[in-house]
Amino acid sequence: MTTLIYTELQKIFKKWRTYIGFIAIGVLVPIVQTALYFTGDDYIRALTRTFQDSFFMVGNLFNGYLVANLILNSLFIHFPFLIVLVGGDILASEATSGTYRMLLTRPVSRFQVVTAKYIAGMIYVTVLLAWLAFLSLGISCLIFGTGELLSFRGKLIIFAADDVLWRFAFSYLFALISMGTVFALSFFFSSLVENAIGPIVATMALIIILLILSALPVEILQNLSPYFFTSHMAVWSNFFDDPVDYADVWRSGSVLLGHIVGLYLITTYIFLKKDILS
C-alpha cells in the first residue's frame, strides 16, 4: 500500500497542473500582502470607524494574524478550484491516457489502487493548505509582526496575541475537512468519466449552484440550505468567534466528514465494478 501511495504521489507531483495551485497561491498571497502593506492602516480605520470615538486603540492591530485571517476569508471561495484541478484528474486521466490497462493488470487490488489514489489526493490537499498557511500566516507574521487579532463577526472581537495561534490551527484543520469534501466530490466525478475536464467543471458547477441557492432569500431554499455541504464549508471561521460555537463546528464537521466517507465509498464501489474499456 505504501508503494502504491508513493507511486500515486509521484504521478501527482510530476504533473505540471499540480503546481498551478501552488503558483496561484504563491502569486496571490504576496499581492494581497503587498497591497495591505501600503493600505493596511486605511483598512484598520475603516474596520474600527464606529468605535474610534468610544475607544482608544493602541498596539500593533494591523499584524500578520489579521492579514492571514483576511487572506483565508478572501481565498476560501476560490480555493476549491485549485483542489478540483487535481481531484478531477486523478482517476479520469488514467482512463484518458489508457494507463488503467497497465495499472490494473498489476497484482494489486482495485480497492488498494483507489484508496491509494484517494490518500495521495488528500495529501496533495493537505500540502496545498500547508502552503497557504505558510504564506498567509508565516510570511505575514514575518512581514507585519504579531499582535492582537481583530475579528469582525457581526461584532468586533479582539483576541489577545497568545489566544490566536490555536484558532488558526483549528481553522486550517477544519479547512482541510472542507477541502477534503471538495476533493472527494471531484474524485467521485472523476470515477464516472474518462476525461478530467468533466469532473472539474461538474464539481465547480455544483459548488457554485449550491452557494447561489443558499444565498437566495427564498424560504424553501433557506430550509434546504443546511443539507448542502457548501453551507458547512465556511465553519472554519467559527474559531474566530467568542465563544466558539463548538456544537456548530461538530455538526458541520460531521456533515462534511460524512460526505467524505460517503463519496469515497461510492467511488470505490464504482471503481470496483468498472469495466476498463479505455
Binding site: T3, K11, K14, S97, T105
Partner: protein
C-alpha cells in the same frame, strides 16, 4: 506439448447491453505454448484478453489461470502474468525508466537500476531511458510495452498485437524475442495478432474466433491439414474444363472460375483423381496450386466458410 493447463476458459461470455462481444468461448493454453489468438476486427479478441486480465468482468463463464479461478485469485495470478493490452500507454510525463520503475514496483519486480537497464537494453531503448515517454514514437512505446510486460519475469505473457507500429526490422526482433522467451526461457505466450504470417511462424497452437465464438482451435499444422483443401487448377481451355467438370461429382466443389483457373474446395486425396480426369478428357493442366496458407484458411473461416 506439456499437459499442464495454464489458461482454461469455459463458456466465457461478455454482453454489453444488447451487443454480445464474446459468446460462450472455450480455450485451453498449455505450459510452453505459443498460443495464437486470431480473429478479424471486432471478433472479441481484445474483450477476451481484457477478461483474462480482469480488466472486464465476464457476464458468464469461468476463467482459470495456473489452475486457479481468476476471480478469487486475481492478485496471485497477475503477479505471474505480463501483458500488453492493445497499444501500450504509459505515463507520458515520466521517463521510460520511471515508468518501468513504477510498474515494476507494483508487480513486485526487482526494480534496481541494473535490472531496469537490462530490460531497456533488451528492447533497444537503453540510450533513451531518461527521455519522457511523450517523446517516444509508437514503435518505441511498443518496445517499452514489451519491457514492462517482462520486467517481473512472468510465467505467462499475454501480448495483444505486439508488433503493431513496428518497422519490419522491429517486427522481426519482437518475433525473435517471443521465440527466445518460449524456447529458451520456457514462457507460455498468448499472442493475439493480425499478422497471420507472424502467427504461422511463431505459434504452436492457435484459436480463431469470429463474432465472439470459437471457429477452430488446434495446432497450425492440424488446422492447415484439414480434409478439404482449396486448390487451383490452371488449364489451357477453361470453358471445356468447366464442361468436363460439370459432368463429375466435383462440380459441387467449384468455388470460382477465372481466366484459365478453376478454384475448387475438395478432399485432398481426390485432387490427383481430378487432375487425371482432366488429362483423360484432353484438357492440359499446366499447374495444380494448393492454397493452404494460414491467411487463406483464416479468411475461409472468418468469412463464414465451413469449419
Amino acid at each position: 506439448m506439456n499437459s499442464e493447463q495454464i489458461i482454461e476458459v469455459r463458456g466465457l461470455t461478455k454482453k454489453f447491453k444488447s451487443l454480445i462481444a464474446v459468446n460462450n468461448l472455450n480455450l485451453n493454453v498449455y505450459r510452453g505454448d505459443v498460443f495464437g489468438f486470431l480473429g478479424p476486427n471486432g471478433a472479441g479478441k481484445s474483450t477476451t484478453i481484457r477478461m483474462l486480465l480482469s480488466l472486464i468482468k465476464p457476464t458468464d463463464g469461468s476463467i482459470k489461470i495456473f489452475g486457479m479461478p481468476l476471480k478469487e485469485n486475481r492478485e496471485k495470478i497477475l503477479g505471474k502474468v505480463g501483458a500488453i493490452v492493445e497499444k501500450p500507454d504509459f505515463y507520458m510525463y515520466l521517463s521510460a525508466y520511471k515508468n518501468l520503475e513504477i510498474l515494476g514496483k507494483l508487480s513486485g519486480a526487482d526494480t534496481s537500476k541494473k535490472k531496469i537497464m537490462e530490460m531497456l537494453e533488451l528492447v533497444g531503448l537503453a540510450n533513451r531511458f531518461k527521455s519522457k515517454v511523450k517523446t517516444y514514437s509508437h514503435g518505441m512505446k511498443q518496445r517499452l510495452g514489451i519491457a514492462q510486460a517482462l520486467l517481473h519475469d512472468p510465467e505467462l505473457i499475454i501480448l495483444d498485437e505486439p508488433t503493431t507500429g513496428l518497422d519490419p526490422q522491429g517486427m522481426k526482433e519482437i518475433r525473435d524475442l517471443i521465440i527466445y522467451l518460449s524456447r529458451v526461457k520456457n514462457k507460455t505466450i498468448f499472442l493475439s495478432s493480425h499478422i497471420l504470417r507472424e502467427v504461422e511462424i511463431i505459434t504452436s497452437r492457435m484459436i480463431i474466433i469470429n463474432k465472439g465464438t470459437t471457429q477452430v482451435e488446434g495446432t497450425v499444422e492440424e488446422l492447415l491439414k484439414s480434409d478439404n483443401v482449396s486448390v487451383t487448377f490452371e488449364v489451357d481451355n477453361i470453358s471445356k474444363a468447366a464442361e468436363v467438370l460439370n459432368f463429375t461429382m466435383w462440380n459441387k466443389n467449384l468455388k470460382s472460375k477465372e481466366k484459365n483457373q478453376l478454384l475448387l474446395e475438395m478432399p485432398q486425396n481426390e485432387v490427383a483423381d481430378l487432375n487425371k480426369h482432366f488429362i483423360e478428357n484432353g484438357i492440359s493442366v499446366s499447374a495444380v496450386i494448393p492454397v493452404k496458407s494460414l491467411e487463406d484458411y483464416f479468411l475461409k473461416i472468418t468469412e463464414g466458410g465451413s469449419k
